[in-house]
């Protein structure tokens, strides 16, 4: 295991009656690209701002390179930030913006010049020295913001939804560039975003936050294939979630009762009678025209959604919940109005402990109709 560079221990942040970050524990390793992912208001930006030193934790401690930082001012830390709105100084040229950090550290002029030019080359902005931020495009401003933060050679770079204001195509391009930069410079990146695809593309590890609580920290594939909570399962990618309870256990094989009937799955560490969630990815959802052993679900095909390379089929269960089945375009799907028997391979689905102890909550499936 690599050396830890940022250690967050039992951090809470409370604004008045608003508990924004709840008992957060997280270790960021040196040189990794860690993404804080969550919907807006989940506390991810607050967490980032606490690491940056702009906010103080209400309780708990944050260490960077083994040193507690609560006592230090932002300018004393080896951490730099790329702001969501770029926060470029509008009255300074691109050169002066990038040189700012070095100027503050009273680095000799010759060296500033050399390092600014290095940085501008790194982010491919040569020739823009004398322009002002207002004369640049969004993507260029973004590069300036990154260069300005990186010139201080921080150990940790914090990025607060840095690509949020860019259009899709540019965002994709910048994602790859950021990843390339991070690997090249071997700097730890802590990246905040609400875009799950961005998180999956760029991160070494993803930390998913939900309402101030850290639900899971793991590599993208692990998060996608083995979500630890119902929130993670629904937030990352599309899924069919069923609330249910365990009827009986036979080795690893679980017989599960859900509102619409019985289904099967595999898993260990479960007890009979326990409330659980089953997450079935749309591409893993199968169907038959005759009943399948162990499954008693029946659904009626209601709609098709064409999404370019894939086609989604929406089927309705007796209780009104919708089921998504996804196939590559051209592969067979049932007819509209046809009655089908959905099932899946036991090993293709994930069973999750239901923390909320809620059975039959009929709001989980995204309504696409």
């Amino acid at each position: 295991m690599a050396r830890p560079i940022v250690e967050i221990n039992g951090v809470n942040k409370i604004y008045g009656s608003n508990h924004v970050v709840k008992d957060l524990n997280l270790v960021v390793e040196e040189g990794e690209f860690l993404t804080l992912l969550g919907s807006s208001g989940c506390g991810k930006t607050t967490t980032l701002r606490m690491i940056a030193g702009f906010e103080e934790p209400t309780s708990g401690s944050i260490k960077v390179e083994g040193e507690a930082i609560e006592e230090k001012e932002p300018f004393e830390r080896n951490v730099n930030t790329v702001f969501q709105s770029y926060a470029l100084f509008p009255h300074k040229t691109i050169y002066d913006n990038i040189a700012y950090g070095l100027k503050m550290k009273k680095v000799p002029k010759d060296e500033i010049k050399k390092r600014v030019h290095e940085m501008m080359e790194l982010v491919q902005l040569e020739g823009f020295e004398k322009r002002y931020p207002s004369q640049l495009s969004g993507g260029q401003k973004q590069r300036v913001a990154i260069a300005r933060a990186l010139i201080n050679r921080p150990r940790v770079l914090l990025l607060d939804e840095p690509l949020g204001a860019l259009d899709l195509k540019l965002r994709k391009q910048m994602q790859l560039e950021l990843k390339r930069l991070q690997k090249k410079l071997n700097i730890t990146f802590i990246y905040v975003t609400h875009d799950q695809e961005e998180a999956l593309t760029m991160s070494d590890r993803i930390a998913i936050m939900n309402a101030g609580v850290l639900d899971q920290v793991a590599a993208p594939t692990e998060i996608y294939e083995h979500p630890a909570t119902k929130f993670v399962a629904t937030f990352i990618g599309e899924t069919n979630i069923f609330d249910g309870s365990i009827r009986s256990i036979n080795g690893e094989s679980l017989s599960i009762q859900i509102e619409n009937g019985d289904v099967k799955a595999t898993g260990s560490e479960f007890a009979a009678g326990e409330f659980i969630n089953v997450s079935v990815r749309p591409e893993k959802m199968k169907y038959a025209l005759d009943p399948v052993e162990g499954f008693t679900l029946i659904a009626t095909v209601k709609d098709y959604v064409y999404v370019g390379s894939v086609v989604k089929c929406i089927a309705v269960l007796p209780n009104g919940n919708e089921l998504k089945i996804e196939r590559l375009a051209g592969q067979p799907l049932p007819q509209l109005g046809e009655q089908i028997f959905p099932y899946w391979n036991e090993k293709d689905v994930v069973v999750i402990h239901n923390r909320d102890q809620i059975f039959y909550q009929a709001v989980d499936n995204v309504v696409l109709g």
Partner: protein, 288 residues
Amino acid sequence: MKKHQWRANTLPSLVTVGPVTLWLLFFVAVPLIYVGVMSFCSLDQYYNVTFQFTLDNYKRLFDVNYIKIYGQSVLIAFLTTIICILVAYPFSFLIARTKSKKKMILYMLVIIPFWTNSLIRIYGWKTFLGTTGWLNTALQFLHITSEPLELLFHRGTTVLGMVYCLFPFMVLPLYTAIEKLDGSLLEASADLGAKGFSTFFEVILPLTASGIFSGSIMVFIPALGYFFVADILGGGNSDVIGNLIERQFQSGNNWPLGAALSIILILITLLLVKIYQKLGGDMESLGV
């Protein structure tokens, strides 16, 4: 022109632009022309204005005694502006950047006096500072001084009154400029290693300079003309250009000379605004 065209185009424009045009015509253009014409008129032996062209009024403006007063007026206006900046900047910063509820109270503290007649407020200062005024009474009561201090009728007292009257004109543009300041820029500055002092001079001050600039214009120009402040608090010891004009129209009964002085003041104003604009000042923040 056809009737429907008149209805469609001319009538709406007359209704919308008409009143403003009339207002500007009768309350700005006509008086200005009147003053302009007056400044070239002469007086007859009975001090009646006659329409006889002369440049004498303008020649008299170069009288040494007048030039001294111009200098004094510029000095007073300059001091007033500087003091206003120094006092209003921290104050505006406080009310613009604080999130607390006191913000509105502080803001109202500036605005409410602003709505009150300034003549009354200046008389208030006279009462407060006079030899038998509150301040002297209090100082003697507390045995800080043994006899009343002559606080009135100094150049400093005039400056004090000017600062007091014109303070809101400095606060308002400063407040606007400081409030517009993006907080993330200050965080970025700190993040990049700047201490508070550097952040102020590198980021805050340059980005709020426009507010200082328009505030200065809005304080300096009226300070040249606020004759009643110089009259009441300065007691004739610290006349400004406004006093000269007032005197020609009132006791001096020399309207053409007063008009010439007015024209000069208008030209100075225009010149300052022009410089302001040339230097990149924002005309909207002057309310133009």
